[in-house]
């Protein structure tokens, strides 16, 4: 027993190393499989508060670009107003329309923490469960899709960006409506994605637009990017192609979180179908 104690004190560095290393690896691996069950992330109050202060300062530096973008969006929206069309019929009567029911609701939020140069990238935004954000909602900005919400606290939420090893979204070619899956490329380039599993019948062209399919979190037709290269690694029975992403992730300032009001209904139905099989 005494010899054992002497042995342990003599090589205490090694045993301490084992203890601390195992502890940190357990945290690391547990965190990976349970999707951030722990509190050590940037949506907790202390780090979230710090990031909010810092981003307030940073946003001053990007005001000009942001203004330009807003002006462009304003003009686009004004073009869709009823008042910008000339009405040539005189008889008008009001109809209470019950056909339309709102499906998607958009919640605007500011990005307060962002990264693009890691193997797995996350964003933090300054809206949380109090403003109606829930886990699993899609996130877009006015240029295209950004990612999906994975953790929500009262005032902040963390978004798993498209630039993440596990991110996959349903996408389609804008012209011939062929369905595929968009994910991030292998070489950690924040401007390139890969469109996978497009059927062999499709005849894609370089420069063709890729948009969301409407099967997953996003409404149909939100831009993702443009095809830049057709000859990436062959994927067997399906076509793979390289896509230049429409969103510049390093310059994100404001994003819209999409609340699909029929999502729970759809999921419930699909879960039921799985149970029946």
């Amino acid at each position: 027993m005494r010899n054992l104690l002497i042995f342990i004190t003599k090589y205490n560095a090694f045993f301490l190393f084992i203890i601390f290393e195992v502890a940190s690896l357990i945290i690391y691996i547990k965190y990976n499989s349970f999707q951030k069950a722990s509190f050590i992330n940037s949506s907790n109050a202390v780090t979230g508060g710090f990031y909010a202060k810092m981003s307030e300062f940073n946003s001053y530096l990007k005001l000009k670009e942001e203004n330009d973008e807003l002006a462009r969006e304003n003009s686009r929206l004004r073009n869709q107003l009823k008042s910008s069309f000339y009405v040539d019929t005189v008889n008008k009567h009001k109809v209470v329309d019950t056909i339309y029911k709102r499906q998607y609701e958009y919640i605007v939020a500011r990005v307060i923490n962002n990264s693009t140069n890691h193997a797995n990238n996350y964003l933090t935004i300054n809206k949380g469960s109090q403003q109606g954000i829930a886990k699993g909602m899609g996130v877009m900005c006015n240029l295209g899709i950004v990612g999906k919400v994975i953790i929500v606290s009262e005032h902040f939420s963390v978004i798993q960006s498209l630039l993440h090893k596990d991110s996959q979204f349903s996408a389609m070619l804008a012209n011939n409506k062929e369905i595929g899956t968009i994910e991030w490329g292998d070489d950690l380039n924040p401007h390139k994605g890969i469109l996978k599993d497009v059927s062999n019948n499709a005849v894609p062209k370089v420069g063709e637009e890729v948009v969301t399919s409407g099967y997953s979190l996003f409404p149909m037709g939100i831009p993702i990017g443009k095809i830049s290269n057709l000859h990436t690694k062959a994927g067997g029975y399906a076509l793979n192609m390289e896509v230049t992403l429409a969103v510049d992730f390093s310059k994100l300032q404001y994003v819209d979180v999409i609340n699909n009001k029929f999502a729970t209904e759809q999921e419930g139905l699909e879960a039921q179908q799985k149970k029946d099989e």
Partner: protein, 172 residues
């Protein structure tokens, strides 16, 4: 002694601040990202007890993790770094023959010793960090090139900071 504690506490806060709000946004061609905060562990005094050294490395790692959204990743790499530091110092430095309060800084230990110390420890830390982050050997070449270029960047920053706060107190 209490002066030592205060200096190290300030160093901890300053390094975390620089890492999280400045260096986190810097990356050269997506290859070279500096992790300058490990300088805190490198500069702890020689007679720091092992338990304290490991605990500080663990806490530093977790603090960085909280801001990087990667619980455990930096903590694991920092603990490895602390272990390698103990081995490296026990091999290269004789424990007796110090004058008062020796620290492993550029001014006290000399240029040659410090640059070997900094590069070996940085390489080990970055090697662990990037491989643990990638968590697969399928892109080993890519990861290794990131390790080498990032280490270069980090050691460069350490040398600059060493020369900025240079106090010549050569060991006898």
């Amino acid at each position: 002694m209490s002066r030592n504690i205060i200096i190290n506490l300030i160093r901890f806060l300053v390094l975390v601040f620089i890492q999280v709000f400045l260096l986190k946004n810097i990356s050269l061609y997506n290859f070279s990202t500096p992790y300058f905060y490990i300088l805190f562990i490198l500069l702890l005094p020689f007679e720091t007890p092992n338990v304290l050294l490991f605990a500080l490395a663990f806490i530093l790692g977790l603090t960085i993790d909280a801001f990087y959204d990667t619980p455990g990743l930096h903590a694991a790499a920092c603990v490895v770094l602390a272990f390698v530091r103990i081995i490296f110092i026990s091999i290269t430095v004789q424990k007796d023959g110090f004058d008062n309060e020796p620290e492993p800084t550029l001014g006290i230990m000399g240029f040659r010793w410090f640059i070997t110390y900094a590069s070996v420890l940085t390489l080990v830390h970055h090697f662990f960090l990037f491989n643990l982050e990638a968590f697969s050997f399928s892109q080993l070449e890519f990861t290794i090139s990131r390790v080498l270029l990032s280490s270069l960047f980090t050691v460069f920053l350490m040398l600059i900071s060493g020369l900025l706060f240079f106090k010549r107190k050569e060991r006898k």
